[in-house]
Each structure stands twice: as C-alpha cells, then as structure tokens.
Symmetry: C2
C-alpha cells in the first residue's frame, strides 16, 4: 500500500515518520517542492536575530536521515500540480522539469500556508521578502549580511511581523512597521494592546498602523514604501501580511474547502474524499469553544494532525477533539498569549460576552523584581461559561495560558475555573494567581 | 450578629475582610494570640535571604488598617483557650493576663498549623528556631545578624527546610540538612529527586538524610546536633520537621477531627457544629482526585476557604470543590512543582497507577539557553484517568503545573489531556510541550 504525502513540513513529515513507525512495510512517499524538510519554521525570527548561527541550525532532521534511516521515499524538488481522486493519481513536475505521475492508496495533502503578497507594485523588488519557508529565512539573513542593512520596514503587525521586529532590532537595524488596518493586534483587549505598544516604543520601533500602501519603489537599491499620506525609506522590506492556506490543489480536485479557503476535514482529518486526508496549515479544525469550523494555522496542531493521519492510515482510528486557539509569542521583554475567543469572536459565535481586565504583580507581596501581568478574561453572560483569556507580561505568561486552555477543552464555567487549585510560591506569583483574580472579577459581572 | 474569628492569619483575616465587605453592619471580632496579622508567611525565607529589607515588609496590611479602615474588631494578644458550643461562648486570656469571655453567633476556627518540635533534648536552646510565625522569622533574622552566624543546620527537608536552605546560603551561611527518614522528598519520583539533589550539591549544601537526632547540645554558645552515627556543629539550628494542625481547641469543644488530626469540615467549611466553621491550615478538604478527606495546608486554600466562610456566614451559600494538592517551590535555580497524586498515594486511594518520566528541553530546537525539564506523570491503568504530575526544571515549571491541575479538577483522562491545545513559541518550549510528551508516553503504557 502506498501512502503519498504532498508537503514535507511539520504535518507531512510527522505523518510520514509516524506511519513508518506504525507500519515499517508501508510505502511512504513524500513530495516536497523545496529542498528543505523538517525545520523549525517558528524559530526563524530567533535565528535571524543571531548573526553567528547559520539558518540550517533550524533543521531538526535532514533529508538523508528520513530517506536512509527512516526509509521514507522523500522526493525533494517535486511539485505536485494536480490530483485525480478518481484514478487515485497525483501529477506534477520534478527537478529539471521532468513531469511525474504517482499513484496512491491514501493521500495526505499537507501543503501548508503561504504568505499573502499584496497585489501592489514593487512587492517583487530585490530586498522585499516574505518569511514563510526556510529559504526565505536564508535569503533574508544573507541580504542583511551582504547589504549591511541599516533600516527595515515590516509590512504587517501580526505574530510574524512582531517577532521579526524584535529579531531585526537585535541586529541593530532600525525598524518601522506599517499596515493598512488601524489597530495593532485587533483581537486583543485595548488595555493589553497599550502595554504591547509601550514595549514597542521602549524598543524604538516606529509604528504606522492605518496606512494603505500604494507601492514599493527602488532608487539605486534604496527602497521606498509609498503610503497614502507618507513614505518610509528602507534597505529591506519584510512582508508579514498574514498567510493563506495552500488549498488550490485540493479545490481543483473537487475537495471541499471552507473557512478562509482552508481544506475541510472531519475529526479523523479526512477530506470530502475518504482516501484523501489533509493536515497542517492548509486544513481547518473544529473550535472547541464555538463548535464551529475554524482556520488557526499553528505548529502544534500541524504535528498532532500529522500523527493522527498516520494512525488512521495505519488502521488505528484516531479522532481529534479540536482546538481552542492557544497561542503565545515573545516581543522583547514581553510574553503575549491568548486562548479561546475574544469578545468580538464570541459575539460572532452567538455568545453574550462579558470581559474584565486585571493588573497583577508577577510575584507575591514584598518580593523583589516583580513586574505587571495584564489579564483579560471573557465569559458568557447566559451560561457563565469561560470563553477566552488574553495575557501580557514580562514573566510567567507563556505557560500560564495553558491552564485556561485546559479549562476551555472541558467547557468549564468561570465559577468552576475560579475554584481550581493553583500552585503558589512567592517568587512565582501572588497567592491568588492573576487568572484566579480575573475569574473572581469576572464572576462579579456575570 | 457577631461573627467571631479565632486566628488572624490568612484564613481568619480573609474571612473578616470579606464579611465586612459583604455585610458592613456585621460585628466582626478577630482574636489573634500574637501581635502580627496579614503577613506573607510563605515569603519569610525570601525575606530572611535579604539582609537589607526588614521582616515587617512582609506585612500586607497592618492591624490599624483592619481596625480603623475596615472596622474589624481585631484583638491582638488574645489567646482563645476554650469554646463552649452549647452556650456559644469563647473563653481565653488577653494581654496582661486578663481573661475574657466572648459570645458568638457564628464562629470561625482559623488557628492554622504549628511547627512540629521533636520531643528531644535541646530543642529549647537559644539559637534553635522553628519557622512558622512572623515572630519566628523576626528572631531568626535578628539572630543571624547579631551572632554573625557562619554555620547552620536545618532539621527537616520539606518545602520550608529547602527554602530556608536557599535563604541561608544567600546570606553566605554554610548549611547542612539532616532528617531521620532516608529519602529526600519521598513523594517525588526518584529521577526528579536526583535532579534536586544535584542542585543542592552544586550549591554546596551538605545532605544527611536517614539520621535520627538524639539531642542538641550547647557548648559556649556553639550548638551540636548529636545524631545516631555522627554529629553536626552549628551556630544556629532551624527546625523544619513539618507542621501539624492547631486543632486542640476544636477537639476539646467536641468538634469532629480526622485526617492528620485536622478539623473536619464540609464543602461549606462547617464543622460538626453548624454554627462553627473552620478554614485554613487547621482544617481538612476533599481531595478531588481521590474523593477522600485530606490535609494539605497551603496558602491559596486558606484564603479561598476564608472567603467562602464569610460568604456562608453572610447568607451567600458557597461550596468549595476541594483541592488537588498543587504546590510549587523554588530551590536555587530550580522550580519544583506537583499536582495530584504520587504513585504511592494513588495506590493508597485504590488506583492502579502507572508512571512515566520524560526529559525535555525548556526551549525549542536550536534556541539558545535551553535547560532540562523533568516531568513525571501518573495515570490509572483501569480508567486511563490522569492522577498526578511532578515537574522539576530551571524554567517554566512553576506555571506549567496549573494546566494538569485544571485537568485533575475536570477528572480528565490522559488521552483527553494529551489532546489539549497548548501554546507554542520557540523561546518557551518545544512544539510538543513536556506535559504533552509525558502524556503521550504514558498513553503507550496504559
């Protein structure tokens, strides 16, 4: 039996490796259009920040290991171009423009997501880079070195844009950020956004939200980002305007796609064709809080879904619960995290959200070195259910967010969450953890 | 109506303050035998480590504030000696040996726990201190200063002993620890204990478990701890041999006591007399995992129970779920945390426990500055239920433990916990959080 996988990134290689562990005799073939597999994509900003370490340090396992040790038939430089679900065949183009045709018994589409490149003049100029593949990272890092980049503009202010902002500042590069929409982190409570803004200001990052970009132009290698009412000069431009699922192949093959054009899958990761699975940043998931389909492309889900596909292909039935949208990122000294729904998302899902914000010390009374933790918590007025949490702070935010994530998976109400037995010691927080204080304040308003 | 409270520490003052907020006209009287109220007892080791800050920095709110701002009739230096539940009267001794008699409508016994002082010669010598009240801390700190303490022996190796060990080392004091039982942290998985031992060795702490203490003797102010097969010299001895509930008053009044001699309460914190409540380190709780009574005296529960008593006294019915035994402490560079049951406790509660230990990096692949996190996870073979987690590591342990604590409150099985959507970013952990990796390994053994 052949298990064919399109895409050699997190979901694809997780599925390939696990399938070979489960069924060593299974014929596992992976088509990867690039030359890199199994690297820590999320680690790229941190690697770019570090001039001494090469980008290949991010490679967790190289192609040779997969091929010779794991016996996966990994085909690099192979771009899948079409799927024929009736004939169970994938066609595409290999290296040196040699077309290929491959039959499958089970197929996994793990084509991931690609950067949104605005359809505006100048986004193809030299010095203008998206950041999604390892090769993008490689090119950015090379460019910073050889061009001695002094000034950069980042288009977009999402996770990747903000992480790149920190990375470039660490390299001593002046950074300005610009995006068309008016608000930084629009899903975040305004008080928390203010704390994030302050951190950016402290680190001398120029923020220009609410500016539509008309064009990027080049004058003797110097780039200019022409906006509606201003212009920004730069040696380099990073385009971090978000990502979209690479779902064209699936759609062209007649498979069902849905939210944000992602590929629709069931809890066993099957698409609308029972022999075709999809996992990773191209596929959707059920949001546990809303019960509705969502598209939240994150690394843990990709890995988890890859494993689940391998299980199901190998006859070990595995169903996934869904996601609650837990995410964290670092921005200079800050840890910024969320899980569940924002009030706006809660309204869209039919809840009647109530939100509170609390400010707490990161350590107990009289402990030295305490900083401030901001916690925004949202509950449903009708049912008392916990809907979401957002946190910003210098210490102890990243791992705190997993407690309410577990609560969301259990459909806890705020009252129940408030009763949970948290750890306390003076160096790590107040007796009443910020999450419990937030729950207590929220209970008063529900 | 008079709400009389015996004990002005965490549970007592939480109850007093909340009762006054709920019912400003309520006559709230607090009897505190000492002269300190509302201080961070858990903060004492950290304060002792710091020669520049006075111990009174630990006082969160002083007596005057409670009396004049919160209108609580706080009687310092008042020692309750007996309760007459029939007449609803408390008798005791006030300052200057003046006896008092006070009637109550509702009574809260919040007498806390006291240090276990072994009945061995020499524990009353000058320079031998327990650490429980702020006054103990005050005396230890004073003694270190005026006696220029160079060498200390700590008897006991529990949380408080270990925290004091770090505190004294921070003051440049040579520390040896001794206890009769053979194992350090007997509830902890041996691999994790090894990591803790290594940290103590690194910090040049001499460990002598398995030595019964025969006597402490004094020779010209120098103390000698005489053990079975050795002797230790010291300028100061800290006795941290555990605590026991101060439940004599309750027992003498005919109230039901039980596990570890703690006062038995129901989920509304009522003792066997419906007009008498108990909360804090003197009272028991239901363990959510076992469903049985337990005595785990910790600060969060004391505060939470104090609030719940105030609610119930004021007619707002409040029931507490129980505890899962979540605790954390710091030991030099390590964070050490637990929640739920150890395998031994699980057996005692009728489970069939299976335990795994995993070692993970605290950061993602290729991130600089990663350290090791040890995670021990226990599940029940019969039901697949998650029973407990223990963690040791330099980064991100303290707040991670709350996620499995929430899972325990929800009676999750290991499979469900493994499916939860955790946060991931390279600076904060691997894609698969140590807790998820542990759950995955545990699933293979269940």
């Amino acid at each position: 039996m052949r298990f064919l996988i399109i895409g050699g990134d997190a979901a694809g290689m997780s599925a390939a490796s696990k399938a070979k562990r489960r069924a060593p005799d299974l014929d596992v073939v992976v088509l990867e259009q690039g030359m890199d597999v199994s690297y820590s994509a999320c680690g790229m900003p941190y690697n770019i920040a570090d001039s001494e370490t090469g980008i290949d340090a991010l490679v967790v396992r190289d192609a040779d290991t997969f091929i010779h040790k794991n016996h996966i038939d990994l085909k690099l430089g192979h771009c899948a171009e079409s799927i024929d679900p009736g004939a169970k065949i994938v066609r595409g183009m290999g290296p040196d423009d040699r077309p290929f045709t491959l039959a499958y018994d089970k197929l996994l589409i793990a084509t991931g997501a690609g950067p949104v490149m605005p359809d505006i003049p100048g986004f193809d100029l030299q010095g203008v880079f998206p950041l999604k593949s390892l090769d993008h990272g490689r090119r950015i890092k090379h460019f910073i070195g050889v061009k001695n980049v002094q000034k950069a503009v980042i288009i977009g202010m999402g996770y990747v844009g903000l992480e790149m902002c920190e990375a470039l500042r660490a390299r001593g590069i002046e950074v300005a950020m610009v995006k068309p929409r008016p608000r930084l982190l629009p899903w975040m409570n305004p008080e928390l956004v203010q704390a994030v803004s302050l951190e950016l200001t402290k680190n001398r990052v120029a923020m220009h939200p609410g500016h539509a970009i008309d064009a990027i132009t080049s004058h003797n290698g110097a780039l200019r980002i022409e906006c509606d009412t201003m212009a920004l000069d730069a040696d380099m431009v990073i385009v971090a305007s978000g990502v979209r699922p690479n779902s064209r192949l699936a759609r062209d093959a007649g498979l069902e796609t849905g939210i944000s054009d992602s590929i629709s899958v069931d809890d066993q990761l099957r698409t609308s064709d029972p022999d075709i699975y999809s996992a990773g940043d191209c596929a959707d998931a059920i949001h546990v809080v809303t019960g509705q389909r969502c598209w939240i492309p994150l690394a843990l889900r990709a890995n988890r879904a890859g494993w689940a596909v391998a299980d199901n292909v190998c006859g070990v039935e595995t169903r996934l619960d869904g996601v609650v949208g837990t995410a964290v990122f670092k921005l200079f000294a800050l840890e910024i995290a969320r899980t569940g729904l924002s009030p706006k998302e809660a309204v869209a899902a039919g809840f009647d959200p109530v939100e509170v914000v609390v400010k707490n010390n990161s350590k107990a009374h009289a402990q030295r070195g305490a900083t401030t933790i901001y916690t925004a918590m949202t509950g449903d007025r009708n049912t008392g259910r916990l809907l979401g949490v957002q946190m910003v702070g210098e210490q102890g935010v990243a791992h705190r967010i997993n407690a309410p994530a577990v609560a969301l998976h259990n459909r806890m109400d705020v009252q129940g969450f408030f009763q949970t037995d948290f750890a306390y010691a003076p160096p790590f927080g107040p007796v009443w953890d910020p999450l419990l204080t937030a729950a207590n304040q929220l209970l008063k308003k529900l």
